[in-house]
Amino acid sequence: MTLQDTLLPRRSRTLPRLHVAIRPGLALAVAVLAVVTLWAMLPSAFTSFNPVAGLPADKLQAPGAAHWLGSDELGRDVLARLIFGARQSLAGAVVAVAVGLSVGSLLGVLAGSVGGWVEQAILRLIDVLLSIPALLLSLALIVILGFGTVQVAVAVGVTAVAGFARLIWAEVVTVRRSDYVEAAFGSGGRFFAVLWRHVLPNALTSVLAYAAIQFGWAILQISTLGFLGYGAPPPTPEWGLMIAEGRNYMTTSWWLTLFPGLVVIATVLATNAVGHALTRRLQ
């Protein structure tokens, strides 16, 4: 987030205006995100169960008074694992979006402002990246980088680079042709000064909204990789991994897959809703 703050010095001053007149659906989305964020920051404030060590006596209990969302085959509380898992997903998504946004911005701005063969080379690179299925690309990267939470986040971030780079390139090209950029050169601005004062702030406006939508996508990708066994190793509480582990008990213990699935869906929907609201506001 610090990256965005430095790139968008003026945006932060106008952000409070975004919260005027929030519709009910949007309010719900914001509430969901707030809860999940609190889970990630202070998980032990929401549950007294240990997410990793279970009570063998309590194994595979259905949702009830003791375990609100039931317990798994090792007697671990599902709600506790969901709450502790939020940190995995959110932190991963933040890292992924940061990687995508920073590397993508760099490539996009470079291509859009320098032009010539540099632009062509970067655009072709983006085309190549976009032609590889995202999941395949992140799997390949994980194999190279090794398993682990950070590696998964970086791998997902790299697959997001192409999308960010192309959007920023298009924005930079549009802004570059505007009269005010020409006027800035006309009043004696040097290349980097004009880039910093005019091109970047104007080009990044719509990118911010795109980043919010990418955030939900990153959560989904991280869960998918966790489900496939390429994410955090067990017994880490991770949403995708929980679904994968619960799969074996699908017929007898439905809660092991249903609740993690619902949490992923709710979080992704909420970030998308907020992202779309941002898009509308900023345009």
């Binding site: 009269d179 005010y180 006027a183 006309g186 009043s187 601005g189 104007n202």
Partner: protein, 537 residues
């Protein structure tokens, strides 16, 4: 006399305001148009002209509501009609010629298909449509109508597109045509031809015309009667000749005074023997087009401008005036020729030298909406050239900004605002302030007033005049509008297809135009019909 074609009585319209209340934009507006009559609705932007036109055709913007009054078309009340009933009226009884020909045609459908649409909507059998459309395209003066039928909008010029829109408007021979600023996006000569066409069609078919315009001169030439609107209220209405000869309202008097077409030529002694601020010699600008063909945008332009005077470069779109201007301010490199500003040759300069040279010559853009960074405050915008060239203490910079803001007659409160919070005229003042803060010798004005209302335009032109006198500035004024040129320039060069066809003092060029093209441009200035009587009065 039979029923008027259009009769509006005490019409009031309001819009939903952002705070949840309602803002009234039309107050008790009444007007009527008889068969074959042309009535113009004149006023500045925001005066309610377009709202009036939209209510007649039942196309008010979302959030607008008719609060009271009646609109009768051929005796039939239309304010209470639903969409289905209105569809039967639109096209057949009343039709609209929209403002922007560039945006009003569907880019992916052929011209023929779009004109046929209105015929189809009103039940003309398919077999007859093609012939009817070709006949219509011929009637609005399009050459080769059969070829046009299968062409797409991007293959046509702005004037041709406007003709297509007129063909659509007259397809069903409606009793009333509403023309909403039909020519404000077009060159003067094209404007004249389009207005002639509307006139001609009206005479032949007896259609009544409601012409909406901000240009009093256009109104003067074309209308029988005139309705002057300000802030949603009728200021005055009557026969054109009466209103122009003896306007009874203060607002109409002001409009008349501000209209550049009615302004007399500026006569002031051109300083002879003074040193030359700008000298252009045999300037050529060429572009390489697809297939390595070169297109010569400017061919052999030469002129010189004495310090402290205004030189105008005049031409229609495509005449090369913009290419010439961009070369002169150093934004594009000319193919050959010399440009000397304040004794410095600029065509050979690059890099840091070119950047330093930019202090001497500053540009004010045509469109004040596009030339200011929407994310900067006015203070930042005006201070930017200073930060580029003269690093100085913040307090000193702010003092310079305030001083220049005062020069362009803007209050200090605007410093913290962003361009979106300013009116068009205020924005153009900010752009002028930005150009002047470095104390340049030469200011290039690219149609610097043409995107503005006449009254605001007149204010900006007066401001430019004052600044020139007080600061000894030299102006290069690029324009397609000869009436503005007559009001502000000392000398003029007329460009046609890249070649200078005429150059000399303004008064001489207007009195004795040497080239045919200049004659055509002068003839096309609207208001010419009435101008002599006005000057005599």
């Amino acid at each position: 006399m039979s029923d008027p074609v259009l009769e509006i009585r005490n019409l009031s319209v309001s819009y939903a305001a952002p705070d949840g209340g309602r803002t009234q934009v039309l107050h008790d507006l009444s007007l009527s148009i008889g068969a074959g009559e042309v009535v113009t609705l004149v006023g500045e932007s925001g005066s309610g002209k377009t709202t009036t036109a939209q209510s007649v055709i039942g196309l008010l913007a979302e959030g607008a509501r008719i609060e009271g009054g009646s609109i009768r078309l051929l005796g039939q009340e239309v304010t209470a009609l639903g969409d289905a009933a209105l569809n039967g009226i639109r096209g057949r009884v009343v039709s609209l010629i929209p403002q922007d020909p560039g945006a009003s045609l569907n880019p992916v459908r052929t011209i023929g298909g779009q004109v046929s649409e209105v015929l189809a909507a009103h039940g003309v059998p398919r077999a007859l449509r093609r012939d009817r459309v070709i006949e219509l395209l011929g009637r609005v003066g399009l050459s080769e109508p059969e070829r046009r039928f299968d062409q797409y909008p991007h293959e046509l010029s702005g004037g041709m597109k406007q003709r297509v829109l007129i063909a659509i408007a007259i397809a069903l021979e409606p009793a009333l045509i509403i023309a909403d600023e039909p020519t404000s996006a077009l060159d003067v000569t094209v404007q004249r031809r389009i207005l002639d066409l509307i006139d001609d069609l009206r005479r032949k078919t007896g259609t009544a015309v409601l012409l909406v315009t901000h240009d009093l001169a256009v109104a003067a030439d074309r209308a029988d009667r005139i309705v002057v609107l300000k802030s949603g209220r009728v200021q005055e209405q009557g026969a054109v000749a009466d209103v122009l000869r003896a306007p009874s309202s203060a607002y109409a008097r002001q409009l008349l005074a501000d209209a550049p077409a009615f302004a007399t030529a500026r006569v002031r002694p051109v300083p002879l023997g003074g040193n030359t601020a700008v000298r252009v010699e045999d300037l050529r600008v060429e572009f390489v087009q697809r297939g390595a063909k070169t297109f010569r945008a400017v061919d052999g332009l030469s002129f010189s401008v004495p310090r402290g005077t205004t030189h105008a470069i005049v031409g229609e779109s495509g005449s090369g005036k913009t290419s010439a201007m961009r070369a002169i301010v150093g934004l594009a490199r000319p193919t050959s020729g010399r440009i000397v500003i304040g004794g410095q040759e600029i065509t050979s300069q690059r890099g840091e030298d070119l950047r330093q040279f930019r202090r001497q010559i500053q540009l004010v853009y045509q469109n004040p909406w596009g030339s200011l960074d929407p994310r900067q405050t006015v203070g930042q915008i005006i201070a930017e050239p200073l930060t580029n060239f003269e690093p100085m203490a913040k307090a000193e910079r702010e003092a310079r900004v305030r001083a220049i803001l005062d020069r362009v007659a803007l209050p200090p409160e605007v410093l913290a605002r962003r361009p979106a919070a300013l009116s068009g005229g205020q924005r153009q003042r900010v752009a002028i302030a930005r150009a002047l803060i470095l104390k340049p010798q030469v200011v290039v004005l690219d149609e610097a007033a043409s995107a503005l209302d006449v009254t605001v335009q007149a204010q900006i032109l007066r401001l430019l005049d004052d600044l020139q006198r007080d600061l000894g500035l030299t102006y290069l004024f690029v324009s397609h509008d000869l009436s503005v040129v007559r009001a502000i320039a000392d000398t003029v060069t007329v460009l046609h297809k890249g070649q200078p066809v005429e150059t000399g003092p303004v008064a001489q060029v207007f009195a004795n135009p040497a080239s045919e093209h200049t004659c055509a441009l002068i003839d096309a200035i609207p208001g010419a019909k009435r101008a002599p009587t006005l000057q005599g009065a």
